[in-house]
Amino acid sequence: MAAVSQLQRQFIEYTTSLYNEGYLDDQYTQLQKLQDESNPDFVVEVVSLFFEDSEKLLNNLATALQQKIVDYKQVDSHVHQFKGSSSSIGAQRVTNVCIHFRNFCEEKNLDGCLRCLQQLKHEYIQVRNKLEGLFRLEQQILQAGGSVPMMESICTSASTMSSSGKLSA
């Protein structure tokens, strides 16, 4: 059906742009590989967990940075969590802000931290909107009776280091 192939084309274009613009990286593709008929909602489930967790972390960060005496270890611990979860779902831009944020925590730089928090909120909201858009497109394709195209490896980001085995003494 023309409608389905148009939606599928839209989906491919949209997904490609998300990877090209650095919103998503290869880890998101990894998540998709874990979805199948026995676990058809895996990606949405993980991403929903990420949304919930992120909103909690952003609130915790705002609170921690508002204290009279800021506990930078605590702030860093929240950012570390955020870095981990964003990295695990492939939300590359969010992860990158977290990296800068941790540097400011180490320096106990309040201004830097506050700026990063704003950036973090911004990047999080962006990726959330993009992913929700992606999920909506998927639903439209499925409702029109089509199947969602599998994006094998369309990311253009540099590959990250993966596992290291035993190091010889």
Binding site: L31, N39, L49, F50, H80
Partner: protein, 143 residues
């Protein structure tokens, strides 16, 4: 080192991670690789599951712990770290032969060496991918 498997030759893996997203990911990765998975959200819970209490000597191992073929744990966790968990496991006569894999988002050579010297089977960088888990699975069945 011989592996005793659960019925049907399905390896049982205990995954320990304080991050809820990572727990979901590791669980799915392991299940996709045909493993039976138990997840724990911190090292203390993991030790309890294994039948080891934090302040007990190995002689007080209560023998009621669950049987696992591999433990995969995050390094950075509040309270007891993955490294400390690794230590406890290697100090236990009942558990010391269970392979322990450490995961970390940070590529710090000192950390890696420390863990491998303590007896970790492998050190894997996060985020975890299907290829990482397939490699571990292969190791478990010595394929």
């Amino acid at each position: 080192m011989s592996m005793e498997y659960y019925e049907e030759d399905v390896p049982h893996v205990l995954a320990v991670d304080d991050n809820i997203i990572d727990r979901k990911l590791i669980e799915r990765l392991l299940k996709t690789s045909s493993c039976r998975v138990t997840v724990a959200e911190n090292a203390i819970r993991a030790l309890e599951y294994l039948g080891l209490k934090e302040n007990q000597q190995q002689s007080q191992f209560n023998g009621k712990g669950a049987k696992v073929n591999m433990i995969i744990t995050d390094y950075c966790m509040p309270g007891m770290t993955g490294y400390e968990l690794l230590q406890k496991i290697k100090e236990s006569s009942m558990l010391k032969d269970v392979p322990v894999v450490i995961m970390s988002s940070e590529n710090i050579p000192n950390r890696i060496n420390e863990c491998l010297e303590k007896g970790a089977e492998r050190f894997i960088l996060k985020p975890l991918k299907l290829a990482d888990v397939k490699m571990l699975r292969c190791q478990l069945t010595k394929c």
